[in-house]
C-alpha cells in the first residue's frame, strides 16, 4: 500500500486550490465548534499528519448514515474525506467486492493494527450466536470484535450503533445491540440520529483525522459540540412555546402561523441534537421548520416511546394509547371512591364513640 497521504496532498491531487483548502478548514472547524484560534492547528494537522486508515463497517442498518454523509453540504467532504476513506474498506462505496474487499479489509487490519479508525454503521444482532447478520461467512458479532481489537478508536454512526434504532425496538427479535454494549475498553464516540446530520458526521471524523483524538464527549459518549443541547432549546419556534401558542391539530390556523408543535407530539424537549442549529440539506430546513414535530430519532428507545404524536409516551408502550394522566385520573377516582366508602362506614361504625364525645362535652347536648 502507498505511503499514507495528508489531506492537503490529497486535495492537491484532486485539483483543489490552497484557497479551497483553507476555506474547508475554516468551515469544518466552525461547524464542529472549534475556536477561531484553533483553526491554525487544524490547518497544520491537515497539511502534515498522514491520515490514519479508516474502515467503515455496515451491519444491521439501512445505509441512511452513509447516504447522509455523502450529502454533506461541503463537496470536499464527499470528495476527499470519503474518497480517501473508501480506499480502505466500506461495503457501499468501494470498488472492490467479495474476496477482494475482504482481502483489503484484512490487509488494513493487519498492517495498521492499533492505528486504524473503525466506523460502525448499524447494530449487532446477538441472538442465536449472531446469525441474523453475516458478511463473508462471518457474523457481525465476530467481525466487530475482531476489528475492534485492533482499532485505535471507534465511531458508532447513527441510532442503530448507539441504541439499536428500529430493529432494537421491542420485542427486538434479533437482540440488536449497540456497539457500546459489546465493545468495552476502547474509545467510542457515538453520533446518534437516524441518520446523523452530515456536518456532524464530517465534523466528528475530521476532528479525529486531524488531531488524532476524539472530540470532547458527554456522558453518553456523544460529541459535546453537537449533542449538548436539546432541539427544543435551540428551536426557532421556542418563543411560541413560551408564549403558550400551540398548534392543536396539523390543519388548524395555528399550524399555518407556525406555532409550537409541542401538543402535536414534538419530541424536541427530550432530544439532544443539532438539527435546529446546523439544519439539513445545506442548511435548508429541518423537520420542525417544515411543520412536523421532532420524532427524537437521536434518542435511545425513541421507537418504543409511542404514540408518536403525543409528547409523552403511553403507559404500556405502543400497544396502548393510555397515557400517564389517564392512569393517574383512574387512580385518583378509585381513591375518591375508597375515601367515600370509608367516610360512610366511619359514620356508621364510630357513631357510638362520636355520640359519647358530644354528650360528654359541655354544651354538647
Amino acid at each position: 500500500m502507498e505511503e499514507r497521504q495528508t489531506f492537503w496532498d490529497k486535495m492537491q491531487e484532486k485539483g483543489y486550490t490552497r484557497r479551497d483548502f483553507l476555506k474547508f478548514c475554516a468551515w469544518i472547524g466552525a461547524a464542529s465548534g472549534l475556536q477561531a484560534s484553533s483553526i491554525g492547528s487544524l490547518v497544520h494537522a491537515m497539511e502534515t499528519k498522514p491520515r490514519p486508515p479508516v474502515l467503515w463497517f455496515h451491519f444491521q442498518e439501512c445505509t441512511c448514515c452513509s447516504e447522509s454523509f455523502v450529502r454533506s453540504s461541503h463537496p470536499i467532504v464527499a470528495d476527499v474525506v470519503l474518497d480517501h476513506i473508501s480506499l480502505d474498506y466500506t461495503e457501499t462505496l468501494q470498488a472492490a467486492a467479495g474476496h477482494q474487499a475482504e482481502e483489503a479489509r484484512r490487509h488494513t487490519m493487519e498492517k495498521y493494527k492499533g492505528q486504524y479508525l473503525m466506523l460502525v454503521e448499524g447494530s449487532i444482532p446477538t441472538a442465536a450466536n449472531g446469525v441474523y447478520c453475516c458478511i463473508g461467512g462471518h457474523t457481525a458479532l465476530d467481525i466487530v470484535k475482531e476489528a475492534a481489537a485492533g482499532a485505535a478508536a471507534i465511531v458508532a454512526w447513527g441510532n442503530c450503533a448507539y441504541a439499536g434504532c428500529v430493529q432494537g425496538a421491542k420485542p427486538n427479535p434479533t437482540q440488536a445491540t449497540p456497539i457500546r454494549d459489546i465493545i468495552k475498553g476502547k474509545p467510542i464516540v457515538n453520533v446518534p440520529g437516524c441518520p446523523p446530520i452530515p456536518e456532524v458526521m464530517a465534523g466528528t471524523i475530521v476532528h479525529y483525522l486531524a488531531f488524532g483524538r476524539l472530540p470532547q464527549l458527554d456522558s453518553q459518549g456523544r460529541p459535546k459540540a453537537f449533542y449538548s443541547r436539546r432541539v427544543h432549546d435551540t428551536c426557532y419556534r421556542r418563543p411560541n412555546y413560551d408564549a403558550g401558542l400551540f398548534v392543536e391539530t396539523f390543519d388548524d390556523e395555528n399550524a399555518r402561523k407556525g406555532y409550537c408543535l409541542y401538543k402535536v407530539g414534538c419530541r424536541g424537549p427530550v432530544t439532544y441534537n443539532a438539527c435546529a442549529v446546523t439544519k439539513w440539506n445545506e442548511a435548508t430546513s429541518f423537520p420542525i421548520q417544515s411543520g412536523h414535530g421532532c420524532i427524537g430519532c437521536s434518542e435511545a428507545g425513541n421507537w418504543d416511546n409511542a404514540p408518536l404524536y403525543e409528547h409523552l409516551p403511553g403507559v404500556l408502550g405502543y400497544t396502548s394509547e393510555t397515557d400517564a394522566d389517564t392512569v393517574g385520573m383512574v387512580a385518583a377516582g378509585i381513591t375518591t371512591a375508597a375515601l367515600g366508602v370509608h367516610a360512610l362506614t366511619a359514620n356508621a361504625r364510630k357513631r357510638k364513640q362520636i355520640r359519647k364525645q358530644i354528650e360528654e362535652s359541655p354544651g354538647g347536648k
Partner: protein
C-alpha cells in the same frame, strides 16, 4: 351552670420548624402539581398575539422551577431538623424498624382503616406509624421528583444545584423516560394529598384531639383516660 367535659392533657407536638416545613411543603406541592399538570397539558388559549407579546407558558414553567427549588430546600431543612427536633420530629419515627412500630401499625389499620375495633389505643400523640410510613413514601417520591426534575432542568440551568442530578438521565436511558416517570409520579402527590387531608379530617372528627389545628398551633389534646391505655 358550668358543665365539665373529660379532662385532657395538652401536648406541644409540632414545633415551629415542623409546622413551617409542613406549610411550605404543602404550598410547593400544590403549586408543583398545578404547574406540572399545565406543562404536560397546556390549555389552548386562542388568541392572535405575536409570540413576543406573551409569556404565560414560560411563567408557568418559571413558577414550577422556583417552587421546585423551595421544595428541595424545604426537604433539606426538614431532614436536618429530623436530627434536632423533639421526639415527634425525629428521624427514627419515619423508618419502621422496630417491632413496636409494626404493632402500632396493625392497631391503626384495624382501628382507623377497617374500623374493626371499637376501643381506641393511643401509642403516641405524634404521628401514628401508618402515617409515618406514608411520609416515608412521600419523602422517597420527593427525592425521585427532585432528582428527575433537576436532571431535566440541568442542561438549561446555570447553577450547580441542577447539575448534581444529571446522573439520572443516562441511568433511566434518556430524557423521555425521565420525563414520563416524573409526570406519572405527580399523581402520587395528588393521591397522597387527597388521602392525607381526608385522614386528618377523619381523625379530628372521630377522636377530637385537634389533629387539624395542631399543624397551626402545635398543640394536641388527649383525654386522660385514653392515655392510660
Amino acid at each position: 351552670m358550668e358543665q365539665k367535659g373529660p379532662s385532657r392533657v395538652t401536648f406541644y407536638v409540632w414545633q415551629l420548624p415542623v409546622r413551617l416545613f409542613h406549610w411550605i411543603n404543602a404550598l410547593c406541592i400544590v403549586l408543583l402539581i398545578i404547574t406540572g399538570y399545565l406543562i404536560g397539558n397546556p390549555v389552548a388559549l386562542q388568541n392572535s398575539q405575536e409570540a413576543h407579546m406573551g409569556h404565560w407558558f414560560g411563567t408557568v414553567r418559571l413558577i414550577h422551577f422556583a417552587a421546585a427549588y423551595v421544595f428541595l430546600f424545604a426537604w433539606i431543612y426538614r431532614i436536618i431538623y429530623a436530627f434536632m427536633g423533639n421526639q415527634y420530629a425525629r428521624w427514627t419515627n419515619y423508618l419502621p424498624l422496630s417491632q413496636k412500630q409494626w404493632d402500632e401499625f396493625k392497631d391503626v389499620i384495624a382501628i382507623d382503616i377497617f374500623m374493626m375495633v371499637e376501643e381506641r389505643k393511643i401509642h403516641s400523640p405524634g404521628h401514628n406509624s401508618v402515617a409515618c410510613l406514608s411520609y416515608l413514601f412521600l419523602g422517597l417520591a420527593s427525592v425521585f421528583q427532585i432528582a428527575s426534575g433537576f436532571g431535566l432542568l440541568a442542561p438549561m440551568s446555570e447553577w450547580w444545584i441542577a447539575d448534581l442530578f444529571t446522573w439520572i438521565v443516562p441511568m433511566m436511558d434518556g430524557d423521555t423516560n425521565v420525563r414520563f416517570w416524573h409526570h406519572l409520579m405527580m399523581w402520587f402527590f395528588v393521591i397522597f394529598t387527597m388521602v392525607h387531608v381526608y385522614i386528618v379530617a377523619f381523625h379530628d372528627y372521630v377522636e377530637a384531639r385537634g389533629t387539624t389545628s395542631s399543624m397551626i398551633g402545635g398543640w394536641k389534646f388527649v383525654e386522660e383516660k385514653d392515655l392510660q391505655k
